[in-house]
């Protein structure tokens, strides 16, 4: 067999980098398809999962719909002809990216994927089809509804972002800093959370930079996004702490000069980070101009639809994070200025829970019930109980005010109290020495008993040690503990 050249030898680098490339491309295709919400996403998943598994092992349990799809793709023929399976017809620019397979998932496919568990994400509409509904979830939704809508369909609740020409009048220096801020912020997000195929963020104009912070921009750049609701400036009943508005977050993203930076923020404060540029700029400005620059940045931040949910700790601790990831998606804050609603209402939220009834009947009622059960008339029972309760009331003031003498305690404790408060030495009859003697006597007694225990334990230990080796001393031990060891021998 070996004469036939049964083994092919390939340099490891070539073989493994080939496998890695294949896996990487398959993964990226899968992620792209997921974002696209293709109607046959389930079928495509089946095919791609089969190919990914094949890199590592031979797929064993292949779902029927996958083998059908592979047949439709002429799997055997392709493998025969090209020596390996490829998706020659795959074109991700097309609506239906793989024409040979079914263009829609049927119930079997969705069942196999456990789709019920997965809420289907709604598709992001193209800008021109935007619903201009003034209040899509009502004028006064409750907070839960707002949160849910933002999570599932943020573009419904959020007003469309439009570039306003007057924004172009923003202070030049503020615009430049904002552009730099945008670049550095996105650069600080781990590559893993960037959408596959998304180009690096390099806006050149203010408009481009601001667009990067719209729902659309964030959606296109981050792999998967979780939009968080923000309660700053909303009217109505908002539970919990009010968070900073986008404009007020200027101090988070553009820390004032004196503040030390920690963690992920630190590199941004060093040249050529945007924070260091900002601080240099501020250093050279007089108070009025500095305030103008800061105000320009505030304005720009308030024009953003989304911002990363960053936070800065100080030297006393606190979390340092620019981005936040929840589960498998990047969490971003949404700007409440864009919400289509008038105010937040309490409607539909759970009313405050009432205190439930106590578990037990009150003691008065219980006593009365017990008396009545005995056959006592209700009013007689009530009077009797009242009379019993008023016994204390009938006592004289003098009798009530008298202090009950303390109960006599054990001799030692009493003595200790007296000894530790020398003021009362004269009155107390027990001296400190006597107390010491008593106490130490007790301790000694304890120690003695403790030693005895130790001895017992050590004896047992040695016993077990020897029993494994079978030496002479063991035998002598056995003699002394004859009973138990006889059982062993038996």
């Amino acid at each position: 067999m070996l004469k036939s050249g049964a083994i092919v030898w390939i340099p490891s680098k070539i073989w493994f980098s080939f496998l890695a490339k294949r896996l990487r491309v398959l993964r990226d295709t899968q992620i792209l398809l997921e974002r696209r919400e293709a109607p046959n996403y389930g079928i495509m998943t089946g095919i791609l999962a089969y190919m990914m598994q094949s890199v590592i092992f031979t797929p064993t349990l292949v779902s029927p719909f996958v083998s059908e799809s592979l047949d439709l793709l002429y799997y055997k023929q392709v493998v025969d002809r090209f020596g390996m399976f490829f998706l020659h017809d795959l074109d991700l620019t097309l609506e239906n990216c793989l024409p040979s397979v079914l263009d829609r998932d049927d119930a079997d496919v969705l069942g196999a994927m456990g789709v019920k568990a997965r809420k289907k994400k709604a598709r992001m509409p193209s800008p021109d089809t935007e619903d201009e509904d003034e209040f899509p979830i009502g004028k006064k939704p409750n907070w839960k509804q707002v949160e849910r809508c933002l999570k599932e369909r943020p573009w419904v609740l959020m007003k469309q972002w439009r570039w306003q020409p007057e924004w172009g009048d923003t202070l030049d220096r503020a615009s430049q800093l904002f552009i730099l801020f945008t670049v550095h912020m996105w650069a600080s997000l781990n590559e893993r959370w960037h959408a596959p195929g998304a180009s690096a963020v390099h806006p050149t104009t203010l408009q481009e930079a601001l667009e990067q912070w719209t729902i659309k921009g964030v959606h296109a750049t981050a792999a998967s996004v979780n939009y968080l609701a923000c309660n700053a400036g909303l009217l109505g009943s908002v539970k919990g702490q009010r968070v900073k508005s986008f404009a007020d977050r200027v101090d988070v993203y553009f820390p004032p000069i004196g503040e030390e930076l920690f963690g992920v923020w630190r590199p941004l404060g060093e040249n050529p980070g945007y924070i260091s540029e900002y601080r240099e700029e501020m250093n050279g400005l007089n108070l009025v101009d500095a305030e103008l620059l800061r105000d320009g940045l505030r304005q720009l931040l308030s024009h953003c639809q989304c911002l990363p949910n960053g936070r800065r700790g100080d030297k006393f601790g606190g979390r340092n994070a620019i981005w936040e990831v929840n589960g498998s998606s990047v969490a971003v804050l949404t700007n409440p200025l864009f919400y289509k609603l008038e105010r937040i209402s309490m409607q539909g939220t759970k009313s405050i829970q009432k205190r439930r009834a106590p578990t037990h009947t009150g003691s008065k009622k219980l006593q009365q019930a017990m008396l009545e059960h005995r056959g006592v008339q209700p009013d007689v029972a009530r009077k009797a109980l009242k009379a019993k309760r008023s016994m204390n009331l009938r006592r004289s003031m003098k009798a009530k005010n008298i202090r009950a003498p303390p109960k006599k305690k054990a001799a030692v404790k009493e003595a200790m109290v007296v000894a530790s408060s020398p003021m009362y030495m004269e009155e107390g009859e027990v001296s400190r020495e006597e107390v010491d003697e008593e106490v130490s006597g007790e301790e000694e007694g304890e120690e003695v008993s403790g030693e005895e225990e130790d001895e017992e334990i050590s004896r047992e230990e040695t016993d077990t040690e020897f029993s494994g080796e079978g030496s002479e001393s063991e035998r002598s031990d056995r003699d002394s503990y004859g009973e138990s060891d006889e059982e062993d021998e038996g």
């Binding site: 070996l2 340099p11 493994f16 064993t60």
Partner: protein, 200 residues
């Protein structure tokens, strides 16, 4: 016995006795094994898994892949059942083959099972040998486990694996009675031919 492979390794190129040595090593490592008792058919049949690994002798790291047509021909000649073919990475010509010996033959030649596979799989082998990576459901949902698994596989392939060599292995499960004969013939039929092939 699982996981004793490393204790019984021996190099065929060294000497004719090396296969016998591997049994000696086994018995030294596990003194509780009573070889003559195990090999006595009155006490039952002893099965030995003999794996013959072919490793590249070169300095630069290489990966060996079995050619399936050769494997099929060899298995066919030896009278194995059709078994399971494993195509590696959907490649048509390369992969592994596992098959049982036809019953009638196995009574005569004492070979029960043969498994020919590529050792490169060990890069991503799971500790428990389970093959449950990249399940459709988790791929569909792009759940974090899937993303983590695939990232790790890619990293393994890109970083460490490229620096190492992986050969191929031909594993036979034989009856204890066939062991001595196997030892006598294996050396001749394996190492010389491989060496010749590699230098030709």
């Amino acid at each position: 016995m699982k996981g004793i492979k490393l204790f019984t390794k021996s190099n065929l190129r060294d000497s004719y006795d090396s296969l016998q040595n591997s049994i000696k090593q086994l018995l030294e490592e596990f003194p509780s094994l009573d070889w003559s008792y195990m090999n006595n058919r009155e006490n039952g049949e002893l099965f030995i898994d003999v794996g013959v690994s072919y490793n590249p002798g070169e300095e630069r790291p290489l990966v060996g892949l079995w050619r399936l047509d050769s494997l099929e021909a060899s298995h066919g000649m030896a009278g194995f059942a059709s078994g399971n073919i494993h195509h590696i990475n959907t490649l048509n010509f390369y992969g592994g083959l596992q098959a049982e010996m036809a019953k009638s033959r196995s009574l005569q030649n004492h070979i029960v099972f043969r498994s020919s596979y590529n050792l490169a799989y060990e890069v991503t082998r799971r500790v428990n040998n389970r093959r449950d990576l990249f399940k459709e459901k988790s791929v569909y949902e792009l759940d974090p486990d899937f993303l983590w698994d695939i990232d790790r596989a890619i990293k393994l392939y890109e970083n460490d694996a490229g620096e190492k060599s992986f050969g191929v292995r031909d594993e036979f499960r034989i009856g204890g009675q066939a062991w001595d004969i196997f030892c006598e013939t294996a050396h001749e039929s394996v190492s010389q031919q491989v060496l010749q092939q590699r230098h030709s």
